[in-house]
């Protein structure tokens, strides 16, 4: 009897999956105007660092290695959340239709960067993590253009090296 119910439930779920998926928001969308692409870039740098460190784990003690891997994976996962959340906030709350019209590659840039962040989250993939950072940097440059300020790329003081986009 339960088997039949499970089968029916699975069939209903499969049918419902045929419905197109739209977006709904449950944000705090108070128009406070406080937006900054800095956190997204820091999160991407952290993902790069965790990916590097995961590749450098020493196997002298299995227990310690497993513990370190668990912690680094956890931090990488947390920062993937931060990166995705920050990008979604910029995409959904800050950038308006006129921005997407003025910068036609902006939408693809978000898709590409979110995909790279997802890939870097799911695997130990330094290239994906670097692509996520590159995307976050380009989005930051467009963000500052919309604010009418000049952006600059400065060398970071992080162990990951590389750059971060700030404004003058």
């Amino acid at each position: 009897m339960n088997g039949r119910k499970d089968w029916d439930s699975m069939r209903i779920k499969s049918l419902l999956k045929l419905l197109p998926l739209k977006q709904a928001f449950a944000h705090c969308d108070i128009p406070c105007g406080i937006y900054d692409p800095h956190l997204a870039q820091m999160a991407a740098h952290t993902m790069i660092r965790m990916t590097q460190m995961l590749g450098e784990v020493k196997r002298e003690s299995e227990t310690k290695a497993e513990h370190d891997i668990a912690r680094m994976t956890h931090v990488k996962e947390d920062h993937a959340d931060v990166l995705e959340e920050e990008l979604e906030t910029l995409r959904n709350d800050y950038f308006k239709e006129e921005h997407f019209r003025k910068y036609p590659r902006l939408n693809d840039l978000f898709i590409k960067t979110l995909n790279a962040a997802g890939k870097a989250r799911q695997s130990i993939d330094i290239k994906a993590a670097q692509e996520a950072l590159a995307g976050a940097q380009e989005i930051a440059e467009i963000f500052f253009k919309t604010k009418g300020v000049k952006s600059i790329r400065v060398k970071t003081v992080y162990p990951t090296g590389g750059e971060i986009v700030l404004h003058k």
Partner: protein, 91 residues
């Protein structure tokens, strides 16, 4: 709205609806009975679809709020929701 599937972005309805979770919304139910307090509803606001819970009703106006008080904006900021804005109930 007959039936629609939405992916929810945001934390204001946690723990009931988590960021990234998919929900189904139907307007059919409101053809037969009025929305009531505690219903989680989808409605249109500034061309966006928002999801909140009804916490008060005044005639055909609905006072909505998020469950997660640390992260939600309630009707005091964007006003009461009219039945015309209502798309349906989250089921």
């Amino acid at each position: 709205m007959l039936l629609a599937r939405f992916k929810v972005s945001g934390h204001s309805m946690e723990p009931q609806i988590k960021n990234g979770e998919e929900v189904l919304v139907t307007g059919i139910i409101y053809l037969f009975k009025k929305p009531k307090i505690n219903d989680i509803v989808a409605f249109k606001k500034d061309k966006k679809v928002l999801i909140k819970r009804i916490i008060g009703i005044d005639d055909d106006k609905y006072f909505v709020a998020g469950d997660n008080k640390n992260d939600s904006l309630d009707s005091k900021t964007f006003g009461l929701i009219s039945k015309r804005q209502m798309l349906g109930k989250v089921i």
